[in-house]
Subunit: 190 residues, 2 copies
DNA sequence: TTCTGTCTGTCTATCGATAGATAGATTGTA
DNA sequence: TACAATCTATCTATCGATAGACAGACAGAA
């Protein structure tokens, strides 16, 4: 069972993703990363020439996986409320998994220090989420304008990212749950 | 007009605060900081023995200043809506000021790397904000239970932090404005 | 007043650790 | 043999932190 090049790339990305979600992009170190996957840091550079390449690959993959999951959800799920249940659960599970954050949420906080190629990918993640949310909302409010849908979707996305950030800061997932409940009580989240 | 010790401490804290609000705690460097205020890094250590001391002092000061402003606001302002206008304006002004973030919001993202003394101060900031918001909300809903007020206050705080995070990520203060407007349309923010 | 010792704030110089990155040798497989 | 993947070894830059020197301010004693 020899490790192929692809296997190694995957292992590096998996470890890197966990680190970034816990400690941010700046805390990502080639040496630590290499130690975790059992190779040397020079070998990590073989797979990802620069740290920016790795960061951009992480964010791109993160967006792709999220988009795939959400597309599946939209295709199979019944109603809007159920979609939103599943959506908020995604962000909840990051917290439940060792108090981690959304990869792109935590990278947003480090925005000014990110290489441009990483920043580009982070932007796409937000756009993908808002686009999906707008599509879901359009089911509940078919008469709403595109602009209204976009703004509502953006508000939901921002509110959920904020709930995750604050709950993580308090190291209390209960805060996330109660905050989401409050969002739903007001109708912000259907 | 010789610089007193207090003057120097203030100058260091002012520069440090700007750096943290733009780039986070990890990006705060004693050397860069010293260069900005025109001394050497060893002299910064004279005023703040460790980086943790500086970070904790920053967060404490930030909370104190915020609390003072909010207390004044609560004492003088007329209605709940006006208080919330002023409150959301605080977070807006950080964005308007070179796309900066709430000091404690950006530090929350770096939570796991913060010295404990810094973390403690960051926690207090969130508690102070939620406490104030609950007090404001109690004016509009005098019959609500303390727990309801706390949860609603937490939801507002989280939503606003999230709006700031996302708008900053997009480098578009208009997103903040539209998101706040959406929060108010749903009644999340009075 | 003048001398003397102490304190304050800043300096230079340096430490050990760690960062990302690279060149070139080496191993294993086809 | 040729290529893919990893290695060793090293570079430069930066980090927080510390030791020790030094200049100026100031207080009390002569």
């Amino acid at each position: 069972m020899a490790k192929t090049k692809t296997d190694m790339r995957e292992a590096v990305m998996t470890a890197a993703r966990a680190t970034v979600q816990s400690h941010g992009y700046n805390a990502l170190s080639f040496r630590e990363l290499a130690k975790e996957v059992g190779i040397k840091s020079a070998s990590v550079h073989y797979h990802f020439p620069t740290k920016g390449d790795l960061g951009a690959a992480l964010a791109r993959r993160y967006t792709e996986e999220g988009a795939a999951y959400l597309a599946e959800l939209l295709a199979t799920s019944e109603d809007v409320t159920c979609c939103m249940d599943k959506y908020t659960e995604i962000f909840r599970s990051a917290l439940a998994n060792d108090n981690r954050m959304c990869l792109c949420g935590i990278m947003s906080a480090e925005l000014d220090d990110l290489p441009t190629e990483v920043r580009t990918e982070v932007d796409k993640f937000a756009a993908m989420n808002v686009g999906w949310l707008a599509k879901v909302l359009s089911r509940a409010k078919p008469s709403a304008t595109d602009q209204d849908l976009q703004e509502h979707a953006m508000a939901i996305f921002a509110a959920i990212e904020g709930a995750q950030l604050v709950a993580r800061g308090c190291r209390d997932i209960g805060i996330y749950d109660r905050t989401i409940r409050a969002y739903r009580a007001t109708g912000l989240v259907p």
